[in-house]
Amino acid sequence: IQAQFNVTVRDALNQAMDEELERDERVFLLGEEVAQYDGAYKVSRGLWKKYGDKRIIDTPISEMGFAGIAVGAAMAGLRPICEFMTFNFSMQAIDQVINSAAKTCYMSAGLQAVPIVFRGPNGASAGVAAQHSQCFAAWYAHCPGLKVVSPWNSEDAKGLLKSSIRDDNPVVFLENELLYGVPFEMSEEAQSKDFTIPIGKAKVERAGSHITLVSHSRYVGHCLDAAAVLAKEGIECEVINLRTIRPMDVESIEASVMKTNHLVTVEGGWPQFGVGAEICARIMEGSAFNYLDSPVTRVTGVDIPMPYAKILEDHSLPQIKDIIFSVKKTLNV
């Protein structure tokens, strides 16, 4: 009998950082409010008290500066975790992420590694309006030299963050603020200090035979909820949790499509040039195309800046009913 515990995503992230800080003294965390405030979203709670000023560093509000400092520290042998309070603020520092971190190993022909993790909440929150709600998965996943990870539940969060910290390359780790407080079952295996989840491998969260739903982060939960409703009507959905956006595990999606013949992608980001668009292109180029009985359907955020009023915000993002509607349309039922 496996003992299961309920752990929130926040605590899972905290555990991951705590364990990696303890395991390797080169690991350190820097960002706004990460130390004495315990983290703007309390993700780093208790770490400053345990590890002190040297390893948990509060920065001034200087994203471009401190992201560059973090990259320089990684070049000189440390293993920084650079927190952006939200990924919206990473735009201030995006040159350091792309030009200084992502491209350096290639430009130096392997001489200069950059073992860094950029982490923080990504995508929509609740009522924070247009400038604080953008999803950056597609932006970062466009760039060679980066790995882009997007966990859903607590096991994902812990296992993937540990792998990201141990990876010798720049990793963009996209969390979700609305998931921080959500408890998930965590297996005993996941509670081990050596528990890691490999970057670049998707997970089939629910097996099904009629249609494949592919998603990442918060919308994996929406897909599972939609699948539960659809099951009552006799439609069995296979739900795939991408876990990693780049490199994307296209093989898992293809294997599923070859079984179900139908595909719906679900994401919070905008439709144009997004994660779903990439999945469509990859499916068309690969062996699974001939198994499709209908074109791939993308369910995405609405193509607008995020509004404030609750009714408008609710209608700017995929709801469970949108997923159910899209599944039925794709199946032509």
Partner: protein, 384 residues
């Protein structure tokens, strides 16, 4: 003496001086320009000692850098070097003076005018030139080019103006974190000095007392824009506001060395960052696409060449103090010229990187992965 002289000019294999070492002054004291200081009670010394060996080494290094850059100019005009090529000739005293004051175990980062620093930090002329010509024997295997050369404790070569400054402070943070008494020399130009991220970096470096020496190489022009047209304050050594600063004659290798020693002592004592402005000059335009005469006069360039050339200044100092002979220095010139010729020969004959290398080195310490080529049927391989 005549017999000895004839040996010198006939046989280049053996290094033979026209006179014995006992005839030369082994060391001399020089009076150098006093540095303007900012928020400092005292500045670098104005009386410095240089030994004969030091002088010869500085001369050789500066001459090598000079000839290397001139050869790059030639190869660029022959279209053997492509893209961006930002030459350093005129500024040699900066790189050589700085390196003379620090250790190879210290760290250094600069912007794109980086060939000189790649050399002083340990890169060979051969590997630098082969990188410029994009060959597999280049210091970055042809993957980086002029602006992206790296070697131990040298973090490039950075193409984005100003981005290297936070990086340098980060390297310094790593030094402090690891408690190794090393420091980071972090260079930028007068153009970059107006970048916002530099002020963010000043703030954090001072706040956290990072062992970083910020150095502004002020050559008077940011591309085609003179300092007067770009900066509300051209006192670059004061722009650190709460960081002490020194303004240095960047054409005098001894001035640069002394100021760098002063700065390194300051840093290593745990006092935090310090800022140096080196007043220097580039003979070439901003890059090989800029003739460099639309925003400044040929007379100005010629005046600097005749009155302040760093190599000539050092040569005059050594000769007038009997620290070397004309023949000895000419001999060094001959050796340097040969080294550059050999390197250029390698750089023009070494093959380009193999196509198999196209997708390699995306990641470090990573299992092999597949990379999409230009079309869906093109599946390329990438190894670390």
């Amino acid at each position: 003496v005549r017999k000895l002289l004839s040996i010198v000019f006939k046989g280049a294999a053996a290094v033979v001086s026209a006179r014995t070492y006992a005839d030369f002054t082994n060391e001399a004291t020089f009076e150098i320009k006093k540095c303007d200081t900012f928020k400092l009670d005292e500045g670098p010394a104005t009386q410095v000692v240089m030994t004969r060996d030091e002088g010869l080494q500085y001369y050789r290094t500066m001459q090598t850098m000079r000839r290397m850059e001139l050869k790059a100019d030639q190869l660029y005009k022959q279209k053997i070097i492509r893209g961006f090529c930002h030459l350093y000739d005129g500024q040699e005293a900066c790189a050589v003076g700085i390196e003379a004051a620090i250790n190879l175990s210290d760290h250094l980062i600069t912007a794109y005018r980086a060939h000189g620093y790649t050399y002083t930090r340990g890169g060979t002329v051969k590997k630098i030139m082969a990188e410029l010509t994009g060959r597999r024997g280049g210091i970055a295997k042809g993957k980086g080019g002029s602006m992206h050369m790296y070697c131990k404790h040298f973090y490039g070569g950075n193409g984005i103006v100003g981005a290297q400054v936070p990086l340098g402070a980060g390297v310094a943070l790593a030094c402090k974190y690891q408690g190794n008494s090393e420091l980071c020399v972090c260079l930028y130009g007068d153009g970059a000095a107006n970048q916002g991220q530099i002020f963010e970096t000043y703030n954090m470096a001072a706040l956290w007392k990072l062992p970083v020496i910020f150095i502004c190489e002020n050559n008077g022009y940011g591309m085609g824009t003179s300092v007067e047209r770009a900066a509300a304050s051209t006192d670059y050594f004061k722009r650190g506001e709460f960081i002490p600063g020194v303004r240095v004659d960047g054409m005098d290798v001894l001035c640069v060395r002394e100021a760098s020693r002063f700065a390194a002592d300051y840093c290593r004592s745990g006092k935090g960052p310090i800022l140096m402005e080196l007043q220097t000059y580039r003979y070439h335009g901003h890059s090989m696409s800029d003739p460099g005469v639309s925003y400044r006069t040929r007379e100005e360039i010629q005046e600097v060449r005749s009155k302040s050339d760093p190599i000539s200044m050092l040569k005059d100092r050594m000769l007038s103090n009997n620290m070397a002979s004309v023949e000895e220095l000419k001999e060094i010139d001959v050796e340097v010229r040969k080294e550059i010729e050999d390197a250029a020969q390698f750089a023009t004959t070494d093959p380009e990187p193999p196509l198999e290398d196209l997708c390699n080195h995306i990641f470090h310490n990573n299992p092999p992965l597949e990379v999409r080529g230009t079309n869906p049927w093109s599946k390329l391989k990438s190894v670390s």
